[in-house]
């Protein structure tokens, strides 16, 4: 993060958590309830009413799908008959099993939530800002990049503050600039699967590339076998003319084998040493950095690392995509003039506060070199200052219903009911076979 040129204009100000008063926005009871995915602040695409979640750019994913489907289709149509007759019918069966496994894991990787961390609620963000202020001391300048150090298993790890999500990122989490989300145990953003690869879908990704390597090698080997066996009977050129599709398959498989087998090997290494692609590229745990540098997350032996990555418990999704956006909950007001004011008593103050925040944020976005898309910062705030958290128990809902009208939307920020995806987690109802949590 760099300080803006005109730091005076980039005056650091507190996040406003105050929404407008009940008088300004009459609550429309007849509006149909929206699901949370419709107001998700990240740059993701949702399908099937929130059941499927992908990145914004999905072109390459369709290419992957087409390549796999076409190659396998050609293999089953043209080569399998010959191989089943000449060798054994088990070959198409194994091919089919591999193909289904590949498609299954691909769709599972692409469609599931990689482990997105929901953005902080306005109250949380304000609380963090207060704590950071206390730590830095208010100087009137924009504060330096925020980090927190924590010691994990003897290694000092720096936790960075994410300006978009307004949280201190947990260790191993990273912000994906393409999807504009913080993802837990972020590995990389894979355009081939059209999604980020993170904590929740890493095992599916690994199984996808592993099974795809087997499938590619399998098809390659048996298409070559087919051509050789056929050319022994009718000659090489005739064999090629007989099944031109085989030539295409060989070409596709030949080029795929190198990259996919290589990638599988690389990820096998990563899994066995319990690292992410991100950490490996940065050399975070490399012994070249310093003699005492070691990976604090590794379990010590390869077998345990592999088991933990592939067979460990699958955490649930933290963003409740299909939950309904509830009516607004009470939020705390920011302190004004050093004195905190609570309840619904400060209508004028709230507007001024919010307008100030708006201007400051625009200044921030304009002048500051933010690693994340600064333009989204405003949008992020607009989303943040919309709805509040949802009640989970009956008692809480009663308490909050009382203040429902009090925490309405901020009209001038055009918050379209932008809710932080703070989620009452609901039991899984996986509809698609290869759907997701």
């Amino acid at each position: 993060m760099h300080l803006g040129e005109s730091t005076r204009e980039c005056e650091y100000s507190q996040i406003s958590t105050r929404s407008s008063t009940p008088m300004e926005t009459p609550y429309k009871k007849k509006t149909p309830k929206k699901r949370k995915w419709e107001t998700f602040p990240g740059r993701n695409r949702f399908y099937c009413d929130g059941r499927i979640m992908m990145a914004k750019q999905t072109g390459v994913f369709y290419l992957t799908l087409v390549l796999i489907l076409v190659t396998c289709g050609l293999f089953f149509t043209f080569d399998c008959w010959f191989l089943a007759e000449q060798l054994t019918p088990i070959i198409p069966v194994i091919g089919a099993v591999l193909f289904l496994f590949v498609i299954g894991t691909l769709l599972r990787t692409s469609f599931s939530d990689p482990g997105v961390l929901p953005r902080a609620t306005p109250d949380e963000a304000a609380d963090l800002e207060r704590q950071i202020d206390v730590a830095n001391g208010s100087t009137g300048y924009r504060p330096p990049p925020r980090t927190k150090e924590v010691v994990i298993n003897g290694q000092t790890v720096k936790l960075k503050y994410c300006f978009t999500c307004k949280i201190f990122r947990p260790p191993r989490a990273s912000h994906c600039s393409l999807c504009d989300n913080c993802v837990e145990r972020f590995d990389h953003h894979c355009p081939w699967v059209g999604n980020c690869v993170g904590k929740r879908n890493y095992r599916f990704f690994y199984m996808f590339i592993l099974s795809l390597s087997f499938l590619t090698v399998f098809i390659f080997a048996f298409v070559i076998t087919h051509i050789i066996l056929n050319s022994q009977r009718i000659g090489f050129l005739s064999a090629l003319k007989d099944s031109p599709a085989s030539v295409l398959e060989v070409v596709v498989c030949f080029f795929s084998v190198w990259s996919i087998v290589g990638l599988s090997g690389f990820h096998t290494y990563l899994i066995s040493s319990n690292q992410t692609t991100n950490e490996d590229i940065k050399g975070s745990w490399s012994s070249k950095r310093s003699k005492d540098n070691y990976n604090p997350y590794s379990y010590g032996n390869i077998f345990t690392n592999c088991c933990a990555a592939l067979c460990g418990p699958l955490p649930p999704s933290l963003i409740d995509r299909r939950g309904f956006i509830q009516s607004d909950a009470p939020q705390l007001a920011p302190p004004t003039n050093g004195l905190p004011m609570y309840g619904s008593t400060q209508s004028q103050q709230s507007h001024k506060q919010v307008n100030t925040v708006d201007c400051h944020l625009q200044a921030k976005a304009a002048h500051c070199d933010c690693p994340h898309n600064s333009g989204v910062l405003l949008q992020g705030v607009a989303h943040h200052t919309g709805r509040g958290p949802e009640p989970r128990t009956e008692a809480e809902s009663h308490v909050r219903a009382r203040f429902g009208a009090a925490a309405a939307r901020q009209i001038h920020l055009k918050a379209r009911g932008g809710g932080i995806s703070s989620s009452p987690w609901s039991p899984l109802q996986i509809i698609l076979m290869l759907g997701l949590n």
């Binding site: 299954g104 599972r108 961390l117 929901p118 902080a120 109250d123 949380e124 609380d127 963090l128 207060r130 202020d133 206390v134 208010s138 010691v151 298993n153 790890v157 936790l159 201190f168 947990p170 260790p171 837990e184 145990r185 997350y297 345990t304 592939l310 067979c311 460990g312 418990p313 699958l314 955490p315 649930p316 933290l318 963003i319 705390l332 302190p335 003039n337 050093g338 004195l339 905190p340 609570y342 309840g343 008593t345 958290p389 949802e390 989970r392 008692a395 009663h398 308490v399 009382r402 203040f403 703070s422 989620s423 009452p424 987690w425 039991p427 899984l428 996986i430 076979m433 290869l434 949590n437």
Partner: protein
């Protein structure tokens, strides 16, 4: 100022939200879900230290149980993989079962311990497992606008 609420209904009727305290995650043992057991100063006048610490420690135990890597989780993982994850159409993952237990525990704690003291704990899953949010309520009748000032830390920096 100790405001007494005899039950959640009373809290409902006469309370207003005064402050929120956030218990952050404790990453000193890795990325597993664990919350700091440090007692926040804002709650000093509201609840006994031991009660609060017990709640947080129990929650930490629950999360550790959910994320435990052992025989049962391996079995579940392998079975799930073998059935192409279709098994989860019929049964819940262990993590989800534990999350339900946690939700029940938090509700119990709220009803028995926290609501009578004018506090309310929000399930961390609703906050993306980042924080345990403790909402502090003040009795509407007895508090004015300045009553919450003592419980806000750091605001004097402004």
């Amino acid at each position: 100022m100790a405001t007494e609420f005899h039950n959640l209904q009373e809290l409902r009727r006469s309370a207003s939200l005064a402050n929120k305290v956030f218990i952050q995650r404790d990453y000193s043992e890795g990325t597993a879900c664990r919350f700091q057991t440090k007692f926040p100063s804002e709650l000093e006048s509201r609840i006994e230290r031991t009660l609060f610490e017990d709640t947080v420690k129990t929650l930490n135990t629950f999360y550790a149980e959910a994320e435990k890597i052992g025989g049962q989780s391996y079995l579940e993982g392998c079975l799930a993989c073998a059935t192409a994850y279709l098994i989860f159409l019929c049964m819940e993952t262990r993590y989800e079962k534990v999350l339900k237990k946690i939700a029940k525990y938090i509700q119990e704690q709220n009803e028995k311990i926290y609501a009578p003291r004018g506090l309310l704990i929000t399930d961390p899953i609703e906050r993306g497992m980042r924080v345990i949010e403790v909402s502090i309520y003040e009795d509407r009748g007895s508090s004015g606008s300045s009553s919450g000032s003592s419980s806000v830390s750091g605001s004097t920096a402004r």
